[in-house]
Symmetry: C2
Subunit: 337 residues, 2 copies
């Protein structure tokens, strides 16, 4: 009986009730398992996951058998369920709704590779195409408002969670972090009549202090104000709000810059745990007017967050971050790798 | 040369440059030290910290000698510096300012106690009074806009960081997390002409499903939508925006409910790492008009965050949280302890 509940003070929605008391406490006590235990994500173990939603596989192979290159399966511990209606209700002064949505795992390699940057660019290109395909497909579900692609890379993790994969969470609402960016971009555009992200790219190209890698289509840089040490942003240099609209030739350059960016972080921090997220436009329902300028004012991007520092009471209490190392020093160290 | 920098997309300020490259990498590699090494926070080691700013101590003892009960010292790795001016400047399209402010450590016991809930209520009362004293004193500095009190309790941590203490960060701006709450409370008040927090307390008293402890002056409950499992909020039942205005008799009841709340969390989760934060009103500079209704619409409170789950790409990318255990189940388990 998972639920979406809204916090009245912060206006954040919370997904809760995804585990029972027993499941919660047994997951707390999970110890790294022995190396001998099978990885459900490896080729040959297709029947150990839920049936696949989509895959890129050899012409003559059947779903849920070996022969795939990228494979998408539903998460077993789904925070969201694909069936039912949104069902917004009040409970006293509080708001809640059903946890309608999709939670998919994108398995990025048939081999037990732990870090996406070890994959060849051609394989990373396939992964990026799968992102596009899944984002397009879920757009057909009228109940959904946003699909967030994210990666929790935990090279230290035993087995399954160590096998390189991304996740997709499709939600019945546009999440706060995205909404905040949309509003910020819209405000900037209405004031300057320029895209905020394009202006940032131009500033970075002028400053030349925080760029880590650049190719024909993309720029990878340490933002001027980062939450985490060695954080990177990757943005298309040509203005585009919608990740789904990137061409194959552009995705090739994205695969290349993503691989280089992640390799540099791995080299500086010795293969740290990291997250990345992809922020593209929402599905633009149900208020077409509200989204009128979105193709001008928003700009899709990827943010990469190495997770080497603890979040403390200061961060939770202030909403600010202490990032000890100047972004220019982070850039210098990344460039040296 | 630490700096405050503003992220143009999220509008968050970031404190950066607090460590050199060498300091950063050596702190990354810090291993738990041997148990024999001295704790700088213990009685007898007063000269190992920076000179004290304030203390509650025996009548006939001198500063920076034994004989204290609660002691406040500046942080050595201060993210903020007390000297200089705010110095807001632009750098291209970006904004930055000097890291003016104060970063103080409130050492909560002369003994090497690791969990504040092990202290007697009388000692916790002294700590709360020190919070008030420091908040009042820093109000005299016209450059400061907010003082945030927070605790990072890490019972597993070796030595110093294991010795029970809180921190105070006084900033030249009102942090985003507080501003968001102020705006939310103001909007609610202008719509309902009632305090949002008072309404939440009434709802909790009606629902009777999430209250963990209640006394004459305070209520401690698991919020309807929590970020973390076993998160608790403590609020004064009588409307009050300003923590500094609480009387000694009220603080006695706060000490009692804080001790019980933290003890219950420790019992359920086996002394987990946790943070708590205290959100009271800002110093209300420089726009008196803006703050006109704050005493009616805001309500000070403490939020307690057990830190047992990892923050993932989903949380960073969405601004939402997945909290697996229903708040009502958390309440039931806390009540049973």
């Amino acid at each position: 009986m998972p639920e979406l509940r809204r916090d009245l003070i912060s206006h954040r929605w919370i997904i809760t009730g995804t585990q029972s008391e027993e499941e919660f406490f047994s997951s707390l006590n999970l110890k790294p398992k022995e190396a001998g235990v099978e990885c459900f994500f490896c080729e040959g173990n297709e029947t150990k996951t839920l049936p696949e939603i989509y895959s890129i596989r050899k012409f003559d192979t059947r779903p849920n058998t070996p022969g795939w290159q990228v494979r998408v399966v539903p998460s077993k511990s789904a925070a969201f369920k694909i069936d039912g209606d949104v069902g917004k209700v009040g409970r006293g002064i509080y708001d809640m709704m059903n946890n309608i949505g999709a939670h998919e795992l994108i398995i990025e390699s048939p081999q037990h590779i732990k870090n996406i940057c070890e994959l060849p660019p051609e394989q990373i290109l396939l992964i990026l195409k799968v992102y596009q395909t899944r984002l397009r497909d879920l757009n057909n579900d009228e109940r959904l408002r946003y699909a967030l692609i994210f990666k929790n890379q935990r090279p230290e993790s035993p087995l399954r969670y160590g096998h390189t994969h991304s996740q997709l969470a499709a939600l019945p609402l546009t999440p706060k972090a995205v909404k905040d960016e949309l509003i910020s971009a819209k405000n900037y555009f209405s004031y300057k009549e320029r895209c905020l992200f394009c202006d940032i790219i131009r500033q970075e190209q002028r400053d030349k202090k925080r760029i880590v890698e650049e190719n024909f289509d993309y720029i990878s840089f340490v933002p001027f104000a980062t939450k985490f040490p060695f954080e990177l942003s990757i943005m298309p240099k040509k203005h585009n709000a919608d990740f789904r609209a990137e061409s194959e030739s552009s995705l090739k350059n994205l695969a290349q810059i993503l691989k280089i960016s992640l390799s540099k972080i791995s080299a500086v921090l010795n293969d740290p745990p990291l997250n990345y997220i992809l922020h593209t436009i929402p599905y633009m329902r149900p208020k077409p007017d509200y989204w009128k300028t979105i193709h001008n004012d928003f700009h899709w991007h990827i943010e990469i967050y190495p997770q080497i520092s603890e979040i403390t009471g200061f961060e939770w209490g202030s909403g600010y971050h202490i990032q000890p190392l100047l972004p220019e020093i982070c850039t210098k160290l990344l460039l040296a790798k």
